[in-house]
Symmetry: C2
């Protein structure tokens, strides 16, 4: 295993150290609890947004902390849920009197630890907490890491759109409803041509033959639907788009926000090419992509591959999407 | 070779197709000449900025076309210089009466073709052209692809800072002087732990043993100073920073803009960790990083590794850096 790291067990702490230095003035990092906050204090009377999960998916979640998006991100060890203490502290820190929304990707450990944190907060503090669990990945019903579907790319949309609603001063129930609406109207599917390697494991977390790819792979490299023959980009796009479109189902005339996401080790030249293929398929179905996003947003360490997320848009979601955002990884309009 | 592509010879055209769709409204792509322009017309009386080079370094250069940065980017085939026709057309298109600056990375083919284009423009059109060649890479004096030093990370700084000056309406000589000043005050060094693969070649462009890394590697995977033992991030940071700092030389009390750049297949978690190591070394030398930039900005297809660029800053460069920019890959303040 070759990586730009020191001791494998220090990767998350040391990466957060660099992250804090790279974005000082914008974010504040509690290094003891591996939690990232906005540098600026929350506006009184606005809903706080807390997310988090295992590290290794950067820029998710820490890269989405800032104006118009998350209030805090709790960083677990690589591919390991954050512990309840982190979530409790973050919830208390970001509460500005209007309650706190927990955005949780559907992985057993994450759901359990966020739930436990919400119970502790309910028992010990006068903070209203709502929770929305994201489970947009159509690849598999249950998996190594989940009961039910996994949460993937829709998380990026939920964090942005609920974050914009919170910034407008809307009440907790409405902010949560937007995140839930995003999850209900978004579907994802991923694939990999090469595995990632967890630093402390030191070896790839799955194997693929020279002519194979993993279809429906999870963001921890967990198995997808099948190991299938490696195929040209146009075929890969079809193998991702068809199950995504069929699942909601999306229909001709739908407008969509689309994320063509890199898994970490796939360069932009390939992601743009894949986006071109996906856009052609969506156009063929009469679906209008009104806001495309192409790049590395929810990754799996150094896995090579991509995922597709399609979110059915309406005027309100578009307005929230266009609202100013200023985070390390997404920034516009401010 | 597994990549998210169709036919290897179509990669650049197809990637540009997706790029155009992903950023429609912001950029306009001349697909016949593989050249990217801003969607908005240039402001009369402002200097145009044209850059370009081989593809495979995304987001450079196409991702830097937009308000406050480039006017146009001419995309060559992978690791292949753009042809003079592309540069001539771009120069004519972006001229708004104040002349055009060519920003050229120092590679033999690029320098020659931009020079030829400038001569054609001088013979056929009444457009003043100035050229600044970037050669910031301290790794090697001459290389497979260059006479003299190679142009790498300083290009990102030059495009942003000269772009900001052009946006202010400053004359060609001043805009060129800023790019030249950037080049004179910036130094870079890169390294790789895994090679890239040119699609049409189909096999890695160099080989490294399980315990080796390439120090001073170029952005085409061309040899650097030496193949050396793979080392922890702290050592790698030292091996990059020392030759960079010694070369200008930088001195205690200097302020700096720093780019910790990924080569394409290295995930953010590692780049932030590396940035932390580099920042510690710079602090140890009394150098204050006033603007850090961490991420994939000038890549080498799917090469794994990173590069460090340090630019000695002054008040004017900082002001120009902070000026609004709105491009696919860099965006703030507008």
């Amino acid at each position: 295993m070759k990586k730009l790291i020191n001791r494998p067990q220090d990767v998350v702490a040391e990466s957060l150290r660099g992250f804090a230095l790279a974005h000082s003035g914008k974010v504040r990092v509690d290094h003891d609890l591996a939690t990232v906050y906005r540098a600026e204090r929350p506006l009184l009377g606005t809903v706080g947004l807390v997310s988090g999960g295992g590290s290794g998916h950067e820029p998710l979640h820490a890269g989405f902390v800032g104006h118009g998006m998350l209030s805090a991100a709790c960083c677990g060890q690589v591919f390991t849920s954050p512990v309840p203490d982190q979530v409790v502290a973050a919830t208390q820190q970001v509460d500005a009197g209007a309650g706190v929304l927990h955005l949780v990707k559907n992985y057993t450990g994450d759901v359990m630890n966020f739930e436990m944190a919400a119970e502790i907060v309910a028992d010990t503090a006068d903070i209203e907490v709502a929770t929305v669990v994201l489970d947009d990945d159509v690849a598999v019903q249950d998996s190594t890491w989940t009961a039910g579907r996994r949460g993937t790319g829709a998380t990026v949309f939920a964090e942005k759109l609920a974050g914009a609603a919170a910034e407008e001063g809307r009440p907790l129930a409405e902010v949560a409803a937007i995140a839930r609406h995003v999850n209900e109207n978004a579907r994802s599917m991923g694939m990999a041509i090469a595995p990632s390697t967890v630093p402390t494991a030191g070896k790839p977390n799955f194997t693929l033959g020279e002519d194979e790819m993993e279809l429906g792979v999870g963001i921890h490299g967990e198995p997808g639907r099948a190991t299938v023959p490696y195929a040209p980009a146009a075929d890969i796009a079809r193998q991702l788009a068809e199950p995504v479109l069929a699942d909601l189902p999306f229909a001709g005339g739908d407008r969509a926000l689309v994320l063509l996401n890199g898994m970490g080790a796939t360069p932009l030249i390939e992601l743009y090419l894949m986006y071109g293929e996906v856009a052609a398929i969506l156009a063929g179905h009469g679906i209008e992509v009104v806001r495309p996003l192409v790049g590395n947003y929810i990754t799996s360490l150094d896995m090579a591959g991509c995922s597709l997320t399609v979110l059915r848009a309406d005027d309100e979601l578009l307005r929230l999407w266009d609202a100013p955002v200023e985070t390390p990884a997404l920034r516009w309009g401010r």
